[in-house]
């Protein structure tokens, strides 16, 4: 029985990696969707449309941390073709793109560190932590995304 469970788990894992390797464009879109949803929750709380809670704030920040650490691995050579708005600059200026990813990860990491165990205590603390993270959306899109 244990072997079966392990076997299934292994299959699932290998299935996931297979999907990631086969279709990096789909994976990075899923990651960016999660970033968009986290930004939406954050913006809703900042605008006062959604009541602030520290747990929700921390969840949004944690999503950014996870996305920032994973996102950059899904841009293999050749994945500039297809249904994507990734700019050719990602491959032409790989170092610049890596620097943008590093900044995103550093800002998200700093927000996580400022969150504490229960999340940022109030909306002002959340804004201070999350504001710089969300600034990455625009600067990175401006440089490394094309509009279609």
């Amino acid at each position: 029985m244990r072997k079966l469970v392990l076997g299934v788990a292994a299959l699932c894992l290998s299935g996931m990696t297979a999907m990631a390797a086969d279709d990096p464009i789909a994976v990075r879109k899923h990651i960016m969707d999660s970033v968009g949803a986290a930004a939406g929750l954050s913006g809703g709380m900042m605008k006062g449309e959604v009541a602030y809670s520290p747990a929700a704030g921390k969840s949004a920040i944690a999503t950014m941390v996870a996305a920032a650490s994973a996102f950059g691995t899904f841009f293999p050579e050749g994945s500039d073709m297809g249904d994507t708005t990734a700019s050719p600059k990602i491959w032409e200026d790989a170092a610049g793109y890596q620097a943008a990813l590093d900044k995103f990860a550093a800002d998200a990491g700093a927000a996580m560190a400022a969150s504490g165990k229960d999340g940022p205590a109030d909306l002002d603390a959340f804004k201070a932590a999350m504001g710089p993270v969300m600034g990455n959306c625009k600067s990175c899109h401006e440089a490394y995304r094309v509009k279609k």
Binding site: G36, A37, G43, M134, C137, K138, E142, K147
Partner: protein
């Protein structure tokens, strides 16, 4: 008979040329307006500067932070009429506009006429700035003259015939330079207070010159005011500039607070981020008081939908 016909054609031709020369003459501000110009307040002028988006074209492309205050020009606008190159409008007295008088600056902003009495091309959106209040022009001038000089003239425009004839712009101005508001008050719908709508109208139709990109143009570059803010092909490049009315393909699903938040933060209602030419515009709008962004939003919700 034939000689008479030739003579008539020659006379008519001369008359047409004379009329064309007369009609294409660059206009100046009326003397009483010039006489009433007061020295400006540079502090107030800074807000006018951001609202007017001067740096988006006259600072280096992609400039951020302090670099936006270096107005040496040089950005190229590749349009169907040719390539326009933004000139140096820094306070450098030789290469910029540091030697201009306030009256000359006001003539440029409100009439599209240079200190040498030549027509500016409407790539410089004086067609919108013509709606500015004289005091705002003075304040803007005071602020711009306080910015650092940048030496070096920008390159000239690269225009083909007939667009390379500057004088001809005078005729164009007779058709399209109008300081009256585009949308009359009685066509602004909704229940927002009129004073707020008028502030929004001033910012959108005048200073912000939003219509210059968001409204389609006819074959000779005049704005199709019956399709005000209905979106247009991008002047440069292949893209499309979106419809920002509540019409089809427009932004009817955006609330006024969505619009104001977008101008402040750069996030659309579905949390995509602002892109393209609009990045620099949004960064300018973020420097205005919240009440101005709200007024712009209220105006956009109130204009006729196309």
């Amino acid at each position: 008979m034939f000689r008479k016909l030739v003579a008539a054609i020659v006379v008519l031709g001369i008359a047409a040329a004379a009329a064309g020369w007369f009609l294409s003459a660059p206009e100046h501000l009326p003397e009483e307006v010039v006489a009433n110009l007061r020295a400006g307040d540079a502090g107030r002028g800074e807000l006018i500067f951001w609202a007017g988006g001067c740096a988006s074209c006259h600072a280096p492309a992609g400039a951020k932070g302090e670099a936006k205050l270096g107005l040496g020009g040089g950005q190229r606008l590749d349009t169907p009429f040719g390539i326009f190159v933004a000139p140096n409008i820094s306070s450098d007295p030789r290469d910029g506009i540091g030697a201009w008088t306030l009256a000359e600056f006001a003539d440029a902003m409100l009439k599209g006429t240079s200190p040498e009495g030549k027509n500016f091309y409407p790539a410089f959106p004086y067609t919108s700035y013509a709606r500015m209040k004289p005091q705002d022009v003075s304040d803007l001038f005071a602020f711009m003259q306080s910015l650092p000089p940048v030496s070096g003239k920008a390159a000239g425009h690269e225009l083909g015939f007939p667009f390379n004839i500057r004088r001809g712009v005078g005729l164009w101005k007779r058709l399209y330079l109008d300081s009256a508001p585009v949308v009359p008050e009685d066509q602004l719908h909704g229940d927002t207070e009129l004073s707020i709508l008028n502030r929004g109208r001033y910012l959108v139709e005048g200073l912000g010159h939003c219509g210059e990109c968001h409204t389609p143009r006819n074959a000779i570059g005049g704005l199709e005011k019956t399709l005000w803010l209905a979106g247009a092909p991008a002047a440069a490049g292949e893209g499309k500039v979106p419809n920002i009315t509540s019409g089809e393909g427009g932004i009817s699903s955006w609330s006024a607070s969505d619009i104001a938040y977008y101008l402040e933060s750069g996030f659309t209602p579905d949390y995509d981020s602002v892109g393209g030419e609009m990045v620099s515009v949004q960064e300018n709008m973020a420097k205005l008081p919240a009440s101005d962004r709200e007024a712009i939003a209220a105006y956009l919700k109130a204009v006729p939908a196309h």
